[in-house]
Symmetry: D2
């Protein structure tokens, strides 16, 4: 039976994700702010703790991706490779080392949802929009001082977040909160659904062949909204840190298991 995730079949052709490596090229908007450090701590599972420096720092990222496997088939059938995502990242300590950690994430395609789940990203579906820079005309920002971008997130027919960003100048790097290797939990509740997990791992991962292209910093506004099935207002914006537009590419092949604790 072939196929990384599912369905597994004789050929693997129907698998919801192609074999690794996976290649990504995208444009991102990163918004960093400080929330209450207890709010970050409350989202860290057992074994994790706050970082010492700036423990309440949060990054919210909008990303407009193209992605593909090693045969580039998705580039020729872009409905299978394009997707957008919004994700909330904090930093944390695990086994004495500092990591970035995604605490909330929405994407708009199924393959991205499952691919991310393999990596421990807690992906839901959402409706995601962000301005694209243009080189001509009035219907979009220029990648230059004064260029102004909008970004929105909705899920379950409710707007969850929206942001504005105006370029003030070039930047060396797009913030610091999402800059560490990721440490994620991969949980699979036992089919007995009794509060235990069949799988409970902490994994870490980084991409390879990553590159940053153009990168700009800027002024921003960020608003979070309530929903009966979200908890974003528990990460209130106490202080703005910074915001960035940046281009990146990265490839991903595999991660590393840091801890395994199958409870059953």
């Amino acid at each position: 039976m072939k196929g990384l995730f599912y369905p597994r079949t004789p050929t693997g052709r129907a698998s919801i994700v192609p074999p690794t490596p996976w290649h990504y090229s995208g444009e991102l908007l990163t918004f960093e702010y400080r929330t209450d450090s207890e709010a970050v701590a409350a989202l860290l599972p057992e074994g994790f703790s706050l970082v010492q420096e700036d423990p309440g720092a949060v990054a919210v990222l909008w990303a407009d991706w193209q992605s593909c496997g090693d045969d580039f088939a998705e580039i020729l059938d872009p409905v299978r490779g394009q997707y957008k995502e919004v994700f909330f990242v904090v930093r944390c300590m695990f086994q004495g080392k500092a990591y970035s950690r995604c605490v909330y994430i929405w994407v708009d395609k199924d393959f991205a949802m499952l691919r991310g789940q393999h990596q421990g990203y807690p992906k839901k579906l959402g409706s995601i929009h962000m301005s694209r820079p243009v080189t001509l005309g009035k219907a979009g920002p220029r990648l230059d001082v004064g260029g102004t971008f909008g970004a929105t997130l909705a899920a379950m027919d409710r707007r969850l977040a929206q942001a504005r960003f105006t370029i003030t100048g070039p930047a060396d790097r797009p913030g610091f909160v999402n800059g560490l290797p990721m440490a994620h939990n991969r949980w699979m509740p036992a089919i007995e659904t009794d509060g235990t997990d069949s799988l409970s791992e902490v994994v870490t991962m980084s991409g390879f062949d990553g590159q940053m292209g153009r990168c700009f910093k800027g002024d921003f506004e960020l608003e979070l909204f309530d929903s009966p099935v979200e908890e974003l207002l528990d990460l209130p914006i106490r202080e703005k840190i910074g915001a960035y537009w940046h281009e990146v590419c990265v490839s991903w092949r595999a991660g590393t298991t840091l801890s395994r604790n199958n409870l059953r």
Copy 2:
């Protein structure tokens, strides 16, 4: 940290699925046909074998569901509880017992995708439509002899399946292929993405408080189409068995692990 699946949070409110039990009420169209038994065998993983009687039987089901948790919140915010699905079911033997097994499935909401994944259903997203019976007027079939229904499935902007069904009379039960307890594999590939799995289980489950409402049999046509990322044409329709419209309800709380083989 609360939350059955993910994200796990202090309150569990943001979890993509509410706590079990889950309740379902729906209308289904079931199409049963015979394919080559080797085609079914090719979709069975290690430890599974064909059933002896009618081993090539396949059921394709369209379902229009409402679902909710125990507080019925999704009924009042139906974007969070309504979904449609199409699934292909075969029968198989495991540890000397006969089971039904879902080999392909598409849904149109994220919560259904993850909830099903907990149960071992290999869910992707699709666009799913099926006629609804009406009691008045010309724009829909009556639940009576001659009532004619249409049903379609698309994914990745390609039509994958379509069917027609015309009621010929009442039926006692909606076929036999999907009538056994389910036996599913739950796989989580290791984050090392090296061909091994961190989780590899065979689980079984049945619902409780299930009831069948009105049930009709009928004549049908069923067509399957090709896609570069599906393998439906490997389950060709050699002979029609039967088709049914039926109403059902069921609740689900938990399943049972039949086998666990964490390979790493």
Copy 3:
């Protein structure tokens, strides 16, 4: 060239709507309330005036439709015939006669959008959900006293309206605001886009072969939300009138021009 609306082609097959008559079967939730009569008056164009009795009455309707042309092709390919809509209706006087008038409306399919435009409905796209009654199980209301329904509307990734309805008993008819023949303006701005219209008509229409099926009244809550591109908060809910769940069917062939004033 054949085709009612567009595109017009040699065969008419590609037309966005089939030839009339059009047949509809659906389930509706109707919520009636009183707003300020000046708010209703402000939405009436020249030539229209308020009705004398209860001039501030508004009906908000959620509808889950199946629709088809005279060959019923859409029933067999239901993606082409099923749609949901939400619409706001007021009453008005025109040429000495009382009419119902749709002031805002959202649908979720393109054919419904254009078909409605032919009839003078000012249709936009939205995401629309409403509970469906069930006969079995816990995942939906029964069509009986105590059955509780939810209904929501979103557009442009913002929730615009939501409602709850609980059946208190049978009803003879589903309110009065949407009960008169419709009087709508059909405007086509001049391509010169200079504030004049190439087409400016007042039309009226009613369906034929209409029937009402089961009809229930009940208690309700209705909430309207703000959006930068909507004006629903200008129709504030001052007093609730009543709410209804009802089944209807109707066919539609043609309307009648009441007034024509092509300004150019």
Copy 4:
């Protein structure tokens, strides 16, 4: 009452389209081919005739647009300004002058659908994807020789068209079929729905402040597929002409009525 199209309200805020001028910035893929000239002639209404030179030339364009009104509000809330479209263009003679003419078009947003209808574009909704060029990484083509793009169109859950394009070098202009002022019919069938039109105009329009950015030519493949509600196979690809990737911007304020023939 304010509002260009509908709904017309006291403030105009709820209008489905903002006031003109409208500004557009986008990336396009243009595919030009020859079909049978009779197939083009069959799509021309009364008063139109074929051009003399290359009368069977067709352009199929995929476009990924951002658009906004004069206050740029849509750039900050991009769900209201971004859209994709696919359109088929032929050339024709009207009143002794040569024009381009859109014969089929699909978009993925409601505002684009109605805005286009004002301009005589026969817009339906579709699902549209096209590769975006990237500057980094493997998940997208470079804007350079060898860069390969994919593009697809689906509607009503069926794939209607797909194309591949590989850059072979720079180009001066993106073909010739879509290069003339547009001549479109604007029809509004009479509400009496008796085969007559309340509005029947021929209009022409061009944008202003148009600019072409980067432009590349290339090799291509283009496939058209069947649908019961489309007629694309009546425009068969007899001979390829050329294909282009190009950036454009344009603004639009108004058009000109060439002919008016209100039949009633």
